[in-house]
Structures are given as structure tokens and as C-alpha cells.
Subunit: 490 residues, 2 copies
């Protein structure tokens, strides 16, 4: 987030903070936190800013275990590892069974085999990576077809069917770097990822034989970005892959000169479902053990990199929240439940199982936190729920402001895995993070440990730990506000 | 180059420019350029800043022809293409035969097959790319050995032989980003590339079975940087490859925890020599046709990207220098010779052949220019030769200053291909370019057309065209200063 944007928020926050101090409604009630509570929160914050526990956990998950694609042996090892570490911290650990699809990448390559000015006997390499879905492979020998490059869904829709039928559609919608620079990285990602999610179906509907999507990311280092793509059983199951920004541009330039023919091989497979697990680990509350504050990240990752930013760090800061409390001998009044979600990337399978199993116990879910946007410097806390939550959290902003994380803002995007809880009315939270470089690495081979800044990770751990402990210990109740179920969760 | 650095140069330049205007030595002689000459140079500059010829040439060389590895069909097509284009411009074109090694990349992959904390049945992928050399391949099935990670040649030399013998040495010398940021990109590259050039021999001398070198580049997007590596027939011919910065760091972290075992497959081949060519094209001088001003870049590239920055742009701006003169009907007094050098990357073979053939004609080589560091904004002109050249070129700086390229500075690095001319005493020149991002892309798959900023390319074309025409038309002679032959040219 750019400084100007942050400053505006801080000014707004300071103002509402002052107002909340003098609010008659507040002064009548018991304060959510006593001075002594706030002092404990400062103690947690200070300890977090010096702790390397989260970094060590991220290092083990990424360097030693490696990529943790749902269903893979590494994801199984990660479940055991995190469960063991949380047991070592004295938590009550449960492995919640989640049946997950096990998608495995196969061969993947592509070459332009015909194009204007081609030197006889040569080809141009196109860097591709398969997108995860059902029935998404070419035959082993690949397919060969002319490409049609479009800049948008609208441009595809405007083409007569005979211009698309039998061809490979290339969606060349550029990632909007200016939005990222302006602090709206998620908006830029949202625009780009629509093509990754829906491009396959749109191309199939138009009669294409495959869909290639320009990578939904910010960097231009010939890096393809993987991810999930849609599947509609009513449409032909055509192969879909991501190409790099460079290769999408190359095809666009060449196609403007004349016919461009591509040979594409992607042979991913969907293996039979595998039993995997959410790690669910409770640090029992002393006063209200039945009431739960979830602190979470997702344990699975894509396979190209080692899933450091997405989402090794999210699991690691969640683990650190309880590590800090145990080390500091601080006892939460409510139960703090660390959850390492399984199979977020391939369809939020762990989150769905959790929501189903605990459907009858939602009233005891006091709050939920997820960290799933890397480990860039946190500016504060995103809050989804009733508007009054913003004022209620101002004392916490006061604590966090000393590490530059004093912003409390409303934002519905608090994390995929806690969406079912949010829909059920549970107040949900996530750190507000600096996302300027996150989408450069997200879902690529370059999502590796070196991208994690150890100090910024500490800052994130501080936000998450302070928030979790504050929610677990607050005196009052939180208002609940059920929200509409998003399409993907229906 | 950062602004502060540039400003210091500009101040120095402005000062010496003023001094040169009042220099008695200069005022006695005929001026190198008349006011009318300088007016023509401004005309060339203005036209260059509006011309897209160089961009169109770069686009054809990279998009339509593609990578131009010496000896490849694409390099042969590029020779014919450039020769034809220069003939179309009315030049007298000669193809100068150069026998070149034809190195071809084979399979390349690597995996960590044993390391601390490894999940049974899994491996960690290591991104590698072969370095070009003689006898540089593993057997088709690869080799498997433990790795020894060192930070420097000195660290390797300090290890007892039994710690290295039979192992794979990983040179993990980080690229010095702070030097790049401070304007010393070539120094940073020089330090890093020493390991690419000499790492194989150092590892072989120490008894290693292979050498892996951290990529000599600035970016950290899991991109390996290829290039040439040394060959010493007295040493065992061990495989050598580059790994990405991320993978070098991963191996260093894991090796600090315990033994790390790597499986490496690189199967490049050196095919029999191929007849290729320097394109040598003359725009004949009207007054001194026997005197030659060379304007040049190299036509071959590495194979991972399409050789846009290295060095499609160098050939393209050289072609544009004569295109501009022809279009503006400007006649040089001396011959302007466009040279598109062959096989610079694999050993400057074209440059060697040219120097040998023209050894007896060096006196007629008035000056030589090469552009081989991309197309970043040019700040002026690097000059190698007698110190008096700096003052002599000040009127040209005066012209170029309007596009921010008014710096004239001494620098021996004017280009690999014109080094034999420089050694023989010919004054040599190159644009001073902003190199802040050049080594991020250099020798990687990301060296593609989109990395060329069209306007900055025009600025470079302006510098090269103005300088070439100024040298071809100047009244005086230039002092000559033979220089020692560098080791690589002996």
C-alpha cells in the first residue's frame, strides 16, 4: 500500500479512535480490554518482533518438505509436521479428515510451429504451465492448431464462431501494474484471474480446442503462473494452460502479421481422491473453552515453487501465535484454535469439511483470522462483519501502531478458508499486507523462502498474535452478521 | 546509472567542454566540425528520435527469426536477412566467412535426491541450464553426487581435497545488487561472471565431478542465466551448469544442515563447425572511401530467450545509422561500415576473423563503435583510446545533450567484438547505457522484445548514428593508441 493511502487510513483511524474513547455507549459498558490486558498484548507484540519461530517453520515447510500440493506425499508430511510441532507446544491436536483431489502435473511444453517469417526447420518456444482442473490434458503427443489471440472475453464473444472453432484461444489480458502501484493489487489480480478461472469455459463454449491464459501476475521474467481453472461438465473438456506475459505478447504480435500455429502438450492427471487432513489444534481457553478464536493459514501449496509466500507463512504465523503465548505463559480466556487448512488451492476442500462438521457449533465460533497474502509489511487489520467492529478494535490498533500496523479497515476479503465462517456470521479478520510484489511470485516457481523478509514476517506474526490473543481475551461479545454465500461456496 | 552519478559526470563534462572551447591547441587547428556539420548531426539526431526502423529490425530478428545461437539455422537466416536489408539501403554488402562452433543445448534438469528432512519418495527440483563449453555433458542418465557449497574461489581453495573430490561444487557468490544500484553494473557482473567463466576449471582442479554456478544476474525470479564457461584440456572435462539464485541459496541452506545429494542431467553437444558469416556492409565515403568507421553489434544470441537486448538491439541501431543517412541524403566523407558480428557469445569468432583478415589495413580503420549492453537510456559515449579524444568529442556531446546523452567518458569496455581493433590502436566507442535492469535479463529466457523500450532504443540509435556520422565526417585525424592484448584474445 502506498504511503499516501496508508496515511489517509491512519488519520481516519486516529479520529475514530479518539471518538471511541469518549463514546457514551462504550463508557457505560465494561471495557473490552483492561489496561493490564493491553499491557499483555504489548508484551506479545514485543516478543513477536524478536521471534524467529515463524521463519524457522516456514523454512522447514518449504526447504525441507518442499512444495505441498494437496494429496501429495509432501502435503501429508506437512500435516504430520505441523501437528507434531503444535503438540510440542502443548496443544490438543486433531487431524480432521478431508478427502482431496490429487492433481498432478505432467509433461508441459509448447512451440510455435508456424508463423510469419519462420525460419524453415525452426520453432519458437512458448513457456506454458498447466492449470489445474478436471480432464485438462492434451493427448500425450499434444495438439496442433492455429491460435486466436483476444484481449478480453468481450473480444472473444464478438468473433464469429468459425474464427474460433478448432483453434487455440489465447487470452492476452495484461496485468494492471498501475493498479498494483496504486495499492489495489487485489483488484488487479481479480481482473486478471477471471481469465484463468473462466477462460477455459469461455473458449470451450466458443468451439476452441484449447485455452491459453496470460499469467495472472505482475512480473515479466518469463514466469508462468499456475492455478485452478473452471470445469463445466456440459462443455467440451478442453486443455487449459497459462503462458508467460512474454509469450502471450509474442503470439499477439505474430498473429497480427499472419497465421500462427501452436503445438501444445500438457498432460496433467487427476488421481483418485486422497485422505488428507486439516490440522486443528486447540490452546484451551481458561474461562470459555467452548468459545473458539481461529487463527489460520493453508498448508497446501502449488507445486512449481515451494509455497513460501502462499501460504507457508500463513501457517507459520498462526503457529507462532500460540508459541508466543505458551512461552510467555499467557492464558487465553477463550480457546485459540490454530487451523492449517488443506487443499485451499484446489477448491477449499478443508474449509468446506470444517464448515460442514461445525455447522451446528457456529455460535461458539467467536472470531476467525486467516493470513493468505504473503508476508509483506502489515499495515493493520482487515475486518469483515458488523461495522461496529471497527471502533471496537481501536485499542488493538493503538497497540499495533508501534510496528506500523495500526490501520483497522473494513474489507470482505479476509481469506478463502474462513469464508464459510464469515457467511455464518462469524467476524473474520486478516492482516492488511503490502502486496506490491506478492503477485510477482504467487503461484510461480519463484515462490521460495528467499522471498520472505524475516523482519516483515515478524511484523505479521505480531499482528496475528496480538489480534488472536485480544479476541480470545476480550470482555464483551462481538456482533454477528451473516453474509450472502458467494457463488463458489454454493 | 543513478542520477547523482550522472550529474557528477555532466558537471565534469560541462567543465571540460568549456575548457576545450578556449583551448589554444584547438583554436589553431581547423575545427573537427563546422557549424554546418553540427547542424547535420542535429538533423540525424532528430530523425533518429522519431524513427522506428531499429525497433522493427529488432522485432523481426527476435519475433520472426527468434534465438540466433551461432551455427543455428536462425543465425544463418539472420545473416541473410540483415544482408538483404542493408542491400535494400544501398550498401555494398559482403558476407565474411567465419567457421563457428555449433553448440546445442540438450536435456537439462536436476533434483535434490537426498537432504535433511526429505520426505520419503520426494525430491526438490533444482532449476539448471547448461553452460556452453567443450565436453560439458553428463552421461544421458546424469550423475549423482553430494554437493559442496562455497561462497568464493578462496573458500574452495581452503577446503581439503577429500571434501571436494567426487562431489558437485556449487559456487554461491551472490550478485551484488548494491553495486548495480550505485551505477556499477559491469563491476557487479564482472565479479559474478568470474565464477561462470572459471568455476568449472577451479572445480575440476579440486577433483569435483561437476560445477554449478549461481546465475550471474540481478533478478530473482528463478531464472537461470546461461553463458560460456572455460575449458582446459589439461583438466578433467566435468559438466558445468548455472543454477538460479534461489536454488543456490536452497542448497546452501540445506547443506548447512547435513549432506545434500544432487542428480544432474545436462546433455549439451558441440556439433562440427559450421560456416557462418559476419555481415560487412559499406556505405562508401565520398572523400576518403578507404577510411572506415565501423558501427556494429553482434548478430548471434543465446538460445534461451530471443536475444533482444543481447544483442538484437545492437545490430538494429547500427543498421539504423545508415538507414537514417540514406533517408536524409547525407553523404559521409569516410566509409561507414556496418558490421553484424557472428559468434560473439561463443568466443568472438567473427571478431577474430575480421581482425586477422584486416590486420594489414588497420591504418585505414579510423574508428569503431559497438553497442552490446542493451538499449537502456544512453547518457553519452564511452571512449577508449588516447585521452585527447575526450576533448575532441565535446562538440558531439553538445549535440547529444539535448536527448540527455552528453557525457563523454573514458572507458576501456567498448565491446568485445571491437577489442582486436582497439588493441591495434583504433579509437573505439560505445554508448554509455543505463544498465540497472540489463543483467536481470541478459542470457536468460526473458531476453525478449518486450524488454526493449521503443523510445530508449531511439535514444540509443540517435547516439550511435550521430557518433558514426560525426566520426566519418570530421576534418582532423584521430590519435591512435595501441593497447595491450587481453588474455582472452591471445
Amino acid at each position: 500500500m502506498p504511503k499516501a493511502f496508508a496515511s489517509a487510513f491512519l488519520a481516519a483511524v486516529a479520529c475514530s479512535f479518539l471518538m471511541s474513547l469518549v463514546s457514551p455507549a462504550q463508557s457505560k459498558a465494561v471495557a473490552d480490554w483492561t489496561a493490564s490486558d493491553l499491557e499483555q498484548l504489548r508484551q506479545v507484540q514485543t516478543a513477536a518482533l524478536r521471534d524467529d519461530y515463524a521463519y524457522q517453520q516456514t523454512a522447514h515447510l518449504t526447504d525441507n518438505i518442499g512444495p505441498r500440493l494437496a494429496g501429495s506425499p509432501q502435503s501429508a508430511a506437512a500435516v504430520q509436521y505441523v501437528a507434531d510441532e503444535l503438540r510440542k507446544l502443548g496443544l490438543e491436536v486433531r487431524l480432521q479428515k478431508v478427502s482431496v483431489p490429487y492433481w498432478v502435473r505432467g509433461e508441459e511444453r509448447a512451440e510455435l510451429v508456424g508463423y510469419p517469417g519462420q525460419v524453415p526447420g525452426t520453432q519458437q518456444k512458448i513457456v506454458v504451465t498447466a492449470l489445474a482442473s478436471l480432464d485438462n490434458a492434451t493427448p500425450p503427443e499434444g495438439i496442433t492448431a492455429d491460435v486466436v489471440v483476444v484481449g478480453s472475453f468481450a473480444e472473444l464473444a464478438a468473433l464469429p464462431r468459425e474464427k474460433v472453432a478448432g483453434k487455440i484461444v489465447v487470452f492476452n489480458e495484461p496485468f494492471d501494474h498501475s493498479k498494483v502501484a496504486a495499492g489495489f493489487a487485489l483488484a488487479a489480480y481479480g481482473e486478471a484471474v477471471a481469465y484463468r478461472e473462466d477462460g477455459r469455459e469461455a473458449a470451450a463454449r466458443a468451439g476452441a480446442v484449447a485455452a491459453l491464459v496470460r499469467s495472472a501476475g505482475g512480473a515479466e521474467f518469463r514466469l508462468p503462473h499456475t492455478g485452478e481453472t473452471g470445469y463445466d461438465p456440459k462443455l467440451p473438456a478442453i486443455p487449459a494452460a497459462a503462458v508467460t506475459a512474454e509469450d502471450a505478447e509474442l503470439m499477439a504480435r505474430l498473429a497480427a502479421q499472419g497465421p500462427v500455429r501452436l503445438h501444445l502438450v500438457v498432460t496433467p492427471k487427476l488421481l483418485p481422491n486422497v485422505d488428507s487432513y486439516n490440522v486443528v489444534a486447540d490452546l484451551k481457553g481458561t474461562a470459555h473453552p467452548e468459545q473458539v478464536v481461529i487463527v489460520s493459514g493453508h498448508l497446501d501449496s502449488w507445486d512449481l515453487g515451494t509455497g513460501a509466500l502462499d501460504d507457508g507463512v500463513g501457517v507459520a504465523v498462526s503457529m507462532e501465535a500460540v508459541e508466543l503465548l505458551q512461552r510467555l505463559h499467557l492464558k487465553p480466556k477463550r480457546t485459540i484454535r490454530v487451523v492449517a487448512w488443506m487443499a485451499e488451492e484446489t477448491g477449499a476442500f478443508g474449509a468446506r469439511v470444517y464448515a460442514k462438521e461445525y455447522a451446528g457449533d457456529m455460535a461458539n465460533h467467536f472470531a476467525a483470522i486467516e493470513t493468505d497474502l504473503g508476508a509483506g509489511h502489515p499495515l493493520g487489520i482487515n475486518v469483515s462483519g458488523d461495522d461496529s467492529l471497527l471502533a471496537r478494535l481501536q485499542p488493538i490498533a493503538g497497540v499495533l501502531q508501534s510496528s506500523g500496523a495500526g490501520v483497522i479497515r473494513p474489507d470482505e476479503d479476509t481469506g478463502v478458508d474462513i469464508t464459510p465462517l464469515k457467511v455464518a456470521g462469524v467476524p473474520t479478520f486478516s492482516p492488511i499486507q503490502d502486496l506490491r510484489t506478492y503477485f510477482d511470485y504467487h503461484h510461480t516457481a519463484a515462490d521460495t523462502l528467499d522471498k520472505v523478509d524475516p523482519h516483515e514476517l515478524q511484523e505479521n506474526a505480531a499482528v496475528v498474535a496480538v489480534l488472536a490473543y485480544a479476541l480470545a481475551n476480550m470482555n464483551g461479545d462481538l456482533p454477528r452478521k451473516p453474509l450472502p454465500t458467494p457463488d463458489w461456496l454454493k
